[in-house]
C-alpha cells in the first residue's frame, strides 16, 4: 500500500474540487428535492385542509365521534388498500381484490349463516376467518403464479380472476344474499373498547405492521428494489419471483380478511357487496402517493388517502349530496392524483 502512496484517502480524490457549475447544480438539486418532498407528502396537507374546510362549513362535522366514524367506515377500503399498495410498489397490479372480498364475504356468510341460502353448516367464525384468508391467499397465489411463472401481464391475469371469482360468488348462492350470522361472528364489530369497534383497532394495527415491514425489513426493501429496477434486483440475487408471488398472496389474503369483516359488519353479505372496493383502493393508493410505475409510496400516505376518501364521502353524505354526484367528485379526485403523479415523474 505504502509504495502506491495511497494511505491518504484523498490521494485519488476523484473530482471533488469546488467548482461554480457544480455548486449551482447542487443548489438546483436541493430545490428540486424540497419540492418533491412536499409533493410526496401533499396528501396529508390536503387531508388537513379538507377536514378544516368541512369542519368550518358543515355543522356537526367536527366532532370526535364523527372522526372515529370516518375511520370506522374506512376499515374495508383501508384493509384492501394495504394489499394494493404492496402490489403496486413491485410494479404490478391486482384487479381481483374487489371480487375476492365479495366472494369471501358471501362465502363467510354462507358457511356461518342461518338464512335460506346459507349452507346450514354453522361453522365457527374463527374457522371461517381461516378459510377466508386461505381462499384469498389461494386466489393471490394463482395471480402471482401466472404473473411470475408464465410471465403474463398482471392486468390481464387479475382481470380474468376478477371475473372468475365474481362468478363463483354468484354461483354459491344463485346471486342471493345470506344473513343470520351468530353473535359470535359479529364480535369483531360489536366489541367496542372505549366505544370504538374492534375492527377499527385492527385497521390501525395492520397499518402499523405492514408499514413496519415495508420500512424496516429486508423483504420491504426488496419490494422497493424490485419496483425500482427489476433487472438490477435479479442481478443482485434478489428472488424477484418469490417476492412478487408473496405480495399477490398478501393482497389476496387481505381481500379475504376484508370479506370476512364485511360479513361481520353487515350480518351477512350479497355477492356484489364489494364492487366499488377495487376502484377506491387504487384511488386511495394513488392519492396517497403510490406510483403506478412501482417503487414508490408508503402506507402512511395511503392511510391518508383512505381517510381523505372517507372524509369526503362522509361530508357529502351529511350535506345529502346524491350518490351520483359523489361518484363524479371521487373520480375527479383520482384524476387529480394521477396528474400529480405524472407531474412528479416529469419533475424527476
Amino acid at each position: 500500500m505504502e509504495e502506491h502512496g495511497l494511505t491518504d484517502p484523498n490521494a485519488l480524490a476523484p473530482a471533488q474540487q469546488p467548482d461554480p457549475v457544480a455548486a449551482s447544480m447542487a443548489a438546483a438539486a436541493a430545490r428540486r428535492r424540497i419540492i418533491l418532498r412536499i409533493l410526496d407528502n401533499l396528501v396529508w396537507v390536503i387531508l388537513v385542509v379538507v377536514l378544516a374546510v368541512f369542519s368550518i362549513t358543515i355543522n356537526g362535522f367536527m366532532t370526535t365521534e364523527n372522526f372515529i366514524n370516518i375511520v370506522y367506515h374506512s376499515v374495508f377500503l383501508g384493509v384492501v388498500a394495504i394489499g394494493t399498495t404492496y402490489v403496486l410498489i413491485t410494479g404490478n397490479l391486482d384487479l381481483s381484490i374487489g371480487s375476492v372480498a365479495g366472494f369471501t364475504a358471501v362465502l363467510s356468510a354462507w358457511l356461518a349463516g342461518s338464512s335460506v341460502f346459507a349452507s346450514g353448516l354453522h361453522i365457527d367464525p374463527f374457522v371461517v376467518l381461516v378459510i377466508a384468508l386461505a381462499v384469498g391467499a389461494a386466489a393471490g397465489f394463482v395471480n402471482g403464479f401466472l404473473v411470475t411463472k408464465l410471465r403474463i401481464n398482471a392486468f390481464l391475469v387479475t382481470f380474468a380472476t376478477l371475473t372468475v371469482v365474481a362468478g363463483l360468488a354468484l354461483m354459491l348462492t344463485q346471486g342471493a344474499g345470506v344473513s343470520g350470522l351468530p353473535d359470535s361472528f359479529r364480535l369483531i364489530d360489536t366489541i367496542r373498547p372505549l366505544g370504538i369497534p374492534l375492527m377499527t383497532y385492527l385497521l390501525v394495527g395492520l397499518y402499523v405492521l405492514f408499514e413496519f415491514i415495508l420500512r424496516r425489513t429486508q423483504f420491504g426493501a426488496h419490494l422497493y428494489i424490485i419496483g425500482g429496477n427489476r433487472t438490477a434486483a435479479n442481478n443482485f440475487g434478489i428472488r424477484v419471483d418469490a417476492a412478487v408471488l408473496r405480495v399477490f398472496m398478501f393482497s389476496g389474503a387481505l381481500a379475504g380478511l376484508t370479506g370476512w369483516l364485511l360479513a361481520a359488519r353487515l350480518d351477512g353479505a350479497t355477492p356484489t357487496v364489494a364492487v366499488n372496493l377495487l376502484f377506491n383502493a387504487i384511488a386511495a393508493a394513488v392519492i396517497g402517493g403510490v406510483s403506478l410505475e412501482g417503487g414508490a409510496g408508503s402506507l402512511t400516505g395511503v392511510l391518508a388517502g383512505v381517510l381523505l376518501l372517507g372524509s369526503i364521502t362522509t361530508a357529502l353524505d351529511i350535506v345529502a349530496v346524491d350518490p351520483f354526484t359523489v361518484q363524479v367528485i371521487q373520480g375527479l379526485l383520482v384524476l387529480g392524483a394521477i396528474i400529480l403523479d405524472s407531474v412528479k415523474r416529469r419533475y424527476r
Binding site: P14, Q16, A26, A29, Y224, I225, G237, I238
Partner: protein
C-alpha cells in the same frame, strides 16, 4: 487458440484465479461462443475486446451467472464451479459492474450500495434492517476513495452523476473479493465520470489486488488498464496479447480479422511503429 503467454513472462508462480475451459454457448443454430479458453491470474486485469456480436457480453453473462454455458467448465481458484444465478457468482466472490450501473433511482445510496446484501438481524421471524450499521459501512467504503455524499438517505436520483457512479462502483470495491467483471462500466458516462471510473478501477486494483475482466469498446481504456488483452471474434478467441507487447493496431486487426493472430505479424507491426497510445493520458 488457447491462452498464449508471451515468452519471458514468468507465469509459473502466478495463481490462476479463473479458468474457463472449452466454453460454448449456442442459441439454436447461432454460435454465440465456441471453445473459449480463458485464464485470469492473481492480481491481473484482463481486457476483453471484440466487435459487436463477437461474444463479449455472452461470455460475461456466463461468468456472472446470468447464462449457463452449453459446454465447458469454469474453475475458480482451481475448484470447478457451477453458476446457476448471479447470486451464486456473488456468493463466490465474483462481482459484476453493469453498464447501466444498476441503480434504483427510487432509493437512497445506502439501499443501492447494499442492494440484495442488506445487513439484518432476525427478530421474531422478521429480518430487521440494521439501517445505522448499513449507513456507516456505506459511508466508510465511499470515503475510502474520497467520495462524500452529503445525505446518504437521499434518493440517488437527486445525486450528481459522479456520486451515483461512486455508489455503484463502491459495491465492487467492497465485495469484489476474487474477481470483478466490468461490463463496459464507462459506456453510459460523461467524459469526467469516465476518468473517475478508470481512476477508481486502477486504484481498486492496486489497493485490493483483485483480478478483473474489463470489457470496453474503447481500446484506449483497455490499454490503460489491462495487463493482458483477449480478443474475441465471431464467438471465438482470436488472440491473446500482453498489453506491453502489442499495439492498438494489432488489437483492432485481431478484432476485425484483418490480421492473422501470429506473434510474427505482431512483431512486424511493432517494428513498423504502429501508433501506440500513451497509456498515462
Amino acid at each position: 487458440m488457447t491462452t498464449s503467454i508471451q515468452p519471458g513472462t514468468d507465469v509459473s508462480e502466478r495463481r490462476t484465479i479463473l479458468r474457463a475451459a472449452g466454453i460454448g454457448k449456442y442459441f439454436g443454430s447461432v454460435v454465440a461462443l465456441h471453445d473459449i479458453n480463458l485464464d485470469v491470474y492473481d492480481d491481473e486485469v484482463v481486457g476483453l475486446v471484440g466487435d459487436n456480436g463477437a461474444g463479449k457480453s455472452t461470455l460475461i453473462k456466463i461468468l456472472s451467472g446470468n447464462f449457463r454455458p452449453d459446454v465447458g467448465t469454469i474453475q475458480l481458484e482451481g475448484r470447478e464451479i457451477r453458476l446457476g444465478s448471479p447470486a451464486d457468482a456473488r456468493a463466490l466472490g465474483i462481482e459484476t459492474v453493469y453498464q447501466d450501473l444498476a441503480l434504483c433511482e427510487n432509493l437512497d445510496s445506502v439501499y443501492n450500495f447494499f442492494i440484495g446484501r442488506e445487513i439484518y438481524r432476525r427478530v421474531f421471524g422478521f429480518r430487521l434492517l440494521q439501517h445505522k450499521e448499513m449507513e456507516r459501512r456505506t459511508r466508510e467504503t465511499l470515503s475510502r476513495f474520497g467520495t462524500h455524499i452529503p445525505s446518504m438517505r437521499d434518493r440517488v436520483e437527486y445525486l450528481s452523476g459522479g456520486e451515483r457512479q461512486s455508489v455503484a462502483l463502491g459495491r465492487f470495491i467492497r465485495w469484489g473479493d476474487k474477481l470483478v467483471l466490468l461490463d463496459e462500466p464507462t459506456a453510459a458516462l460523461g467524459v469526467r465520470e469516465t476518468r473517475n471510473a478508470l481512476d477508481l478501477i486502477a486504484w481498486t486494483r492496486r489497493e485490493k489486488h483483485v483480478s478483473m475482466i474489463f470489457i470496453s469498446h474503447n481500446i484506449e481504456h483497455v490499454f490503460h488498464l489491462a495487463d493482458r488483452i483477449v480478443v474475441l471474434r465471431n464467438g471465438e478467441v482470436a488472440g491473446v496479447r500482453e498489453t506491453r507487447a502489442t499495439t492498438p493496431v494489432e488489437i483492432v486487426g485481431l478484432m476485425t480479422g484483418s490480421l492473422l493472430a501470429s506473434p510474427e505479424r505482431a512483431a512486424v507491426m511493432q517494428e513498423g511503429g504502429g501508433p501506440r497510445l500513451d497509456a498515462t493520458d
